[in-house]
């Protein structure tokens, strides 16, 4: 048996939950849909007044739907290969931290838009939000030891900064940033899932027939 770090062992459930790429894949789909929705609704007259309610409903409903989809996919893909585990209720604080970061990002957009702050501030918003999202991804990558989260974080940071430097119009800039983060998450999620399936064949798979 190889020597193991006890603290790393205690973090294994989080790593186990994220290593198959399914959370990243579904999260990427959500970011992509959010970005596309933002870009589509920008073309409507009176954008924020019309779009704010369905957008909020979409974000809330999408979060619940994604959680359900990931659980179902894990039941059919991950659990037969890598086993079943159920987290204790009191160790879900990283998820709560993620939700807090997301809520802060959304709240800062709402404050800037509602307060009608200067155009320059709105243009700088993707850079700030990109950094915030990147920080959350970098933290997850380091905490769970999953490099693909760093790749998505890097994409979030770079896309935010590039859109800010290009002085793209708000909220189109935000929509494009969400699209780019979504695409990066989906690509990394596919990569992780492929690696997971290759490294964890179904019990009995790959054994010579008797």
């Amino acid at each position: 048996m190889n020597p193991v770090n006890l603290n790393q062992v205690l973090r294994r459930p989080g790593r186990h939950w994220n290593i198959d790429g399914l959370p990243l894949l579904s999260m990427g789909t959500f970011w992509l849909l959010l970005g596309v929705a933002t870009l589509l609704m920008d073309s409507l007259e009176g954008y924020w007044k019309v779009a704010s309610v369905p957008l909020t409903l979409f974000i809330t409903g999408g979060g619940f739907a994604l959680n359900y989809i990931v659980k179902r996919l894990k039941q059919s893909i991950t659990e037969p290969r890598a086993g079943v585990m159920r987290l204790r209720q009191d160790v879900k604080w990283p998820a709560a931290l993620g939700a807090l970061v997301a809520a802060f990002a959304i709240a800062s957009v709402v404050v800037v838009v509602k307060a009608g702050l200067q155009c320059e501030v709105q243009r700088a918003l993707p850079g700030g939000i990109g950094l915030l999202i990147a920080a959350a991804f970098f933290y997850c990558s380091r905490h769970y030891g999953i490099p693909s989260y760093s790749a998505v974080g890097l994409c979030a940071m770079l896309s935010g900064l590039v859109l800010t430097v290009l002085r793209a119009r708000f909220p189109v800039s935000l929509g494009w940033m969400f699209v780019l983060i979504g695409v990066a998450s989906i690509l990394c999620g596919i990569g992780d899932l492929t690696r997971f399936l290759r490294e964890n064949p179904l019990p009995g798979e790959g054994e010579p027939a008797q």
Binding site: M1, N2, L6, G83, R88
Partner: protein, 107 residues
């Protein structure tokens, strides 16, 4: 750290829970600690122990009341669910505390 405190901490070596001190059982307890429950396959993939080895260590932990094991069927497939009991949880926490104190006391 004073000599008396160091001697006190080092004196804990003899009081370490030998059941958990064994590396494979320590790993099993550490894997189960943050979880409500886990099945045999999860413990097998995470611990990288052999099936027989994992089985025998789980049986020892179950005998001592540190782990509870429930066998059931999921569809047509058998499933063995393992949980760390309250006693096992307390024993693991106490072992961790003793080990930290011991590591601090070492020169």
């Amino acid at each position: 750290m004073s000599d008396a405190a160091r001697n006190g901490a080092l004196g804990q070596i003899g009081t370490l829970d030998r059941l958990i001190h064994e590396p494979a059982r320590l790993l099993i307890c550490a894997l189960l600690y943050p979880l409500e429950e886990a099945d045999f396959l999860y413990l097998l993939t995470q611990s990288e122990l052999s099936k027989g080895n994992l089985s025998s260590h789980l049986a020892k932990l179950e005998e001592s009341g540190y782990v509870s094991i429930e066998k059931r069927f999921k569809g047509k497939l058998p499933q063995t669910l393992c949980r760390l009991t309250d006693r096992g949880r307390e024993a693991f926490e106490s072992y961790r505390k003793s080990l930290k104190a011991l590591a601090k006391a070492l020169p």
